[in-house]
Amino acid sequence: MARTIAEINEKIKAGKAVVFTAEEVIAVAREKGVKKAAQEVDVVTTGTFGIMCSSGAYFNIGHSTPRLKLGGGRAYLNDVPAYTGLGAADLFMGANALPDDDPRNRIHPGEFNYGGGHVIEELVAGKDVRLAATAYGTDCYPRKRLETLINIKDLNEAVLFNVRNAYQNYNVAVNLSDKTIYTYMGVLKPHLGNANYSSAGQLSPLFNDPYYRTIGIGTKIFLGGGIGFVAWQGTQHNPGVPRTEKGIPKEGAGTLAVIGDLKQMSPRWLMGSSVLGYGCSLTVGVGVPIPILSEEMLEYTAVTDADIYAPVIDYSDAFPNNKPDILAEVTYAELKSGRIKVKGKDVPTASRSSYPRAVEIATTLKEWIRTGKFLLTESVQPLPGAESGAVIKPLNERPIEY
């Protein structure tokens, strides 16, 4: 069998597309067999909802009278510094940005109650945000100071642009040392006191299209409660890692850079987040539809938690010092059972990303497609695949000679 995206879109428009979530399709494939299921199913929807640090948004605030040039000046949104290296009225706010006077980790572990991710959430929620800017003044942009409330509805553009989201697989974090550590993977108790993982597993977008056969640049997606697009491969995209027989990467691999109009998104799916002892971030909802163009695609989307392995890494030493040591490989089925075995010890597990919310994203996207509100796009260029030779490199530090 073979199907095209154009054919699927015709069925969507006619209200006849057969759509399942990546969780539901597992049972469909089991019941009917891959061949029959592939003939019947048009689209499988995926979802993930977790803290995604390399997220941010850019804004065009409109020109003040007299004009002020933000570029090269300084700007703050609710006291959080925004990036001003762009043009006169453009700003970029990254999810990890912190107010200058935040105590950070001076009293360890720092709480990180408010940062860039929270500013983005407040804007999306339609709340007024304080903008304070200073500039050096030019003949054409003479103004030097600006303090005003801004609101997303008045901005010319407000665009979410996340340079690395939706990691295909991730580490399971543990702590072998004898003191509690506070990491981006959460609070880790000493002597293997707990293990934290962060993936929706069988529902996660890139596990359902492990070789990026359909997900590529230009793919239309669910982003932050609205519609977005895959803009590029995400930073640290690393397709060449070891994979299982079914093609599932056994460690962090592919990533997505995504973009979308912030004005149609919702604070339920973009939440400012605080990571104890680590920093501020943004929890992002991403869902990708996967067209079942062939039996192969149906087989990929039928992947289960038991087929997906993640590496257990010590975050007290191996991670900070870039050592390659993997303590164990465990499946997401084991992780979700609540306990895993590491070095002979029974370790309680907890997730960092929300499975119920991932289900909600996949279900929402399914409804959008079923009711004809969401058509699929053809990608304009595939992401670099396992065969591309793309690898991520550590930083090669070289002495600077003075």
Partner: protein, 136 residues
């Protein structure tokens, strides 16, 4: 008026042996439910109680405790969860010392059992969207 409150009692060693709770029942007609009882490393007695009875008698009972040298901290609905902000991420589960959070095995939603909470506050900064709130 009947009240039901949850309180933490801390009492010095010399009081550990005395029948304080019994007096609450006998003299003030209060019902109690022991949620947690232990001796701290400093050899202080620690008792988490749910206390129920007539408001006036309850107040008298509390006065009696304070006079006897017991330190009291209110715990009634101290820590609550803002359901709007909870994403069921799970970051709190292994942080809580009393197991107040559990996972619904079917929906994988994170459930919060207020009854088990001793208001230690550990989950508050550990919850990324700050869904856990303290009320005084």
């Amino acid at each position: 008026m009947t009240v039901s409150k949850r309180i933490v009692l801390r009492f010095p060693r010399r009081l550990v042996e005395r029948p304080i709770v019994y007096r609450l029942v006998k003299d003030y007609d209060l019902e109690f439910n022991i949620l947690k009882a232990s001796i701290t490393p400093e050899e202080e007695g620690l008792l988490v109680l749910e206390l129920k009875g007539d408001q006036k008698e309850y107040d008298k009972g509390i006065k009696f405790l304070i006079k006897a040298g017991v330190k009291i901290q209110s715990l009634s609905q101290d820590v609550t969860r803002n359901e709007e902000r909870c994403t069921s991420c799970g970051a709190c589960i292994t942080v809580c010392p009393t197991g107040a959070f559990s996972l619904d095995p079917k929906t994988r939603e994170v459930l919060f059992d207020n009854e088990k909470c001793i208001a230690c506050g550990l989950c508050i900064p550990a919850c990324p969207p700050r869904a856990m709130e303290v009320h005084f």
